[in-house]
Symmetry: C2
Subunit: 357 residues, 2 copies
């Protein structure tokens, strides 16, 4: 039925559709709905503390017996560079005045924690079928422990070099993340966004370079994109933005509204919300001090100084300081449930592939 | 045989493959070979004077009776901004010293002329079956004359808004130019490269927005890309970079070598060679003063000051100052002839589409 069943066989799922883990925007409900519909649901853990991780996986295990993916960031812990943080605060000071907020001496909090010994123990305890990483892989000792449990390990590559690097270190599935993708670029061997690659060119080149199954991510929002991904050599797709319009998404009304009104050229890569490039819908702060700034503190510290502005603006109904993560095909998305979206996407893709005869 | 025959029927061609017009890198030989193989050969006229245009189309008409596309740029004539040109020369002065070249007072020459009354008369005389434009469309009076001849008019869109704009002004075919594409971005309603869109997201959105046939361009280098383009809603493809490795290409050995060694993340958009963003393989001058510079004189004047450096470096076997135009899938290309490439691409695509059943 599907032209390539390698991913289905490896992950023991029915539909080659991975719901993208979207830290802060999706939780157990979306993962459960997607896995029960036959795809691979994902629980993003980067913004959860360890108690929340246990609680969320507990809910998932209660409500589905299907495979699930648990996702972690593997960035370096940032250094607290006070000079850089002061300079960053200075670039935002006019906005603090505008919203009549006090520019207090902020100690940047670290809203996103990397995979660690503690989270590895969580994996050992809960044994998710699939573990995916973003920004590379954890150090060898932790990676060995994850593999020893029997988890299938996935990670994202934005270049052919990154795909080869991941395969050489034991990654079982490579997610080819095209330039179109929303949220954080997974890039870890390069930090040059100028040379990042669109899905049409990236997927076949990564497919040629590795022997493990490749999942296509970036710009895929309907059956046409899924069919195209298979044509290009992928064995499955990872889809994010359309799930942000499902009822299980944890996005607020401003983000939802921005997604619903988004046009093809409304998004850009920006580093101002976290310190790392991520794709979101253009808004005031991106246009005025970015989208790329050289002044941002290290990932993920940049956001701390923006948070009071985001809160103050959102109270006035403005998303001028909010990170409105989105890929480049938001206009193809529609409001539905995660289960229906997953099934519709698969049905649409199969129909499209059949119609190509 | 092909899942969508709208383009084939409209252009009266056998294979839905348009050889991209590549000013300075392709001429009559490539157009003849492609058209005779069943695709649509293109003659780029932007860097030809009127005599050369007549000569080239004469050769084409002698050697093929198949439809052919003649391509023009439709940019605004640049203003000669002496201050800007001096500042641009200043940014290059260290290279002039390095190569022991005299920094003479240069009058920028205009190597690329826009479509005009004279070139419109050339079209009226020679009646090519297809005329394609880059950077929008000519002014209404000239457009009306081209349509009155009965030419099929094509132009490129980099956003949905541009596609709608082109269709509303009589364009018969829209080329959806994804971010992956080599050479000049066709963008004309926006000059913000940060919001440019990858093929995976762009093609379906443009296909939904217009009623005329859509040609996919950008990142397509083998049958997988052609099959993907059809899946996404295109009725055909425009392919450039792989034709640069055919024997009919007018690229020098340095450019050919760079293409053959190119990796997935070797290209970037740069404006330093002409003043407009175009994708090429990263080299020394792009890395050191670009890839995007705010100091470039208006298109197409920027290149004049680089020409002496390009010549001096190339004499030493270096492509450090050459524009090495390339899309993001050069690594999929191989050395062959334009006829064989066209036929192989079509055969590979049909096989790929059949295998999806």
């Amino acid at each position: 039925m599907w032209p390539d069943c390698r991913l289905l066989d490896l992950l023991k799922i029915k539909l080659p559709i991975v719901q993208a883990p979207m830290a802060g925007a999706s939780g157990s409900a979306m993962a459960i709905a997607t896995s029960n519909a036959g795809g691979l649901g994902s629980l993003p853990c980067a913004m959860l503390n360890i108690e929340a991780m246990y609680s969320e996986i507990g809910i998932i295990r209660q409500q589905t017996n299907k495979p699930v993916n648990v996702n972690f960031f593997v960035h370096q812990e940032p250094s607290q560079d006070l000079k850089k943080q002061k300079s960053w605060m200075a670039s935002l000071s006019k906005y603090y005045s505008e919203f009549e907020l006090n520019q207090f001496e902020q100690k940047s909090s670290n809203g996103r924690a990397p995979f660690s010994n503690d989270t590895c123990e969580f994996i050992e305890d809960t044994k998710p079928e699939v573990v995916s990483f973003h920004f590379g892989l954890p150090k060898k000792e932790l990676m060995d422990r994850v593999k020893a449990i029997g988890c299938i390990v996935m990670s994202s590559a934005t270049t052919v070099d990154e795909a080869r690097w991941l395969e050489a270190r034991g990654c079982d599935v490579i997610i080819a993340q095209g330039y179109e993708a929303g949220g954080h670029r997974a890039m870890f061997l390069s930090n040059d966004i100028n040379t990042q690659i669109g899905s049409m060119a990236l997927i076949p080149q990564i497919s040629d370079a590795v022997t493990v199954p490749v999942i296509a991510a970036g710009g895929i929002a309907d059956g046409r994109g899924v069919a195209a991904a298979f044509s290009l050599g992928a064995s499955g797709v990872q889809v994010g933005t359309p799930y942000l319009l499902t009822k299980e998404a944890l996005v607020n009304d401003l983000h939802r509204k921005a997604l619903k009104n988004s046009k093809s050229d409304d998004t850009a890569l920006t580093n101002i919300f976290t310190g790392r490039p991520a794709r979101g819908i253009m808004n005031r702060v991106m246009a005025e001090i970015g989208p790329i700034s050289s002044k941002t503190p290290d990932f993920p510290l940049s956001g701390t100084a923006l948070t009071p502005l985001k809160i103050a603006a959102e109270e006035k109904g403005l998303s001028d300081f909010s990170s409105l993560w989105s890929g480049q095909a938001a206009s193809l998305a529609y409001e539905t449930s995660s289960a229906d979206f997953t099934k519709d996407l698969a049905r649409d893709a199969l129909k499209r592939m059949g119609s190509l005869v």
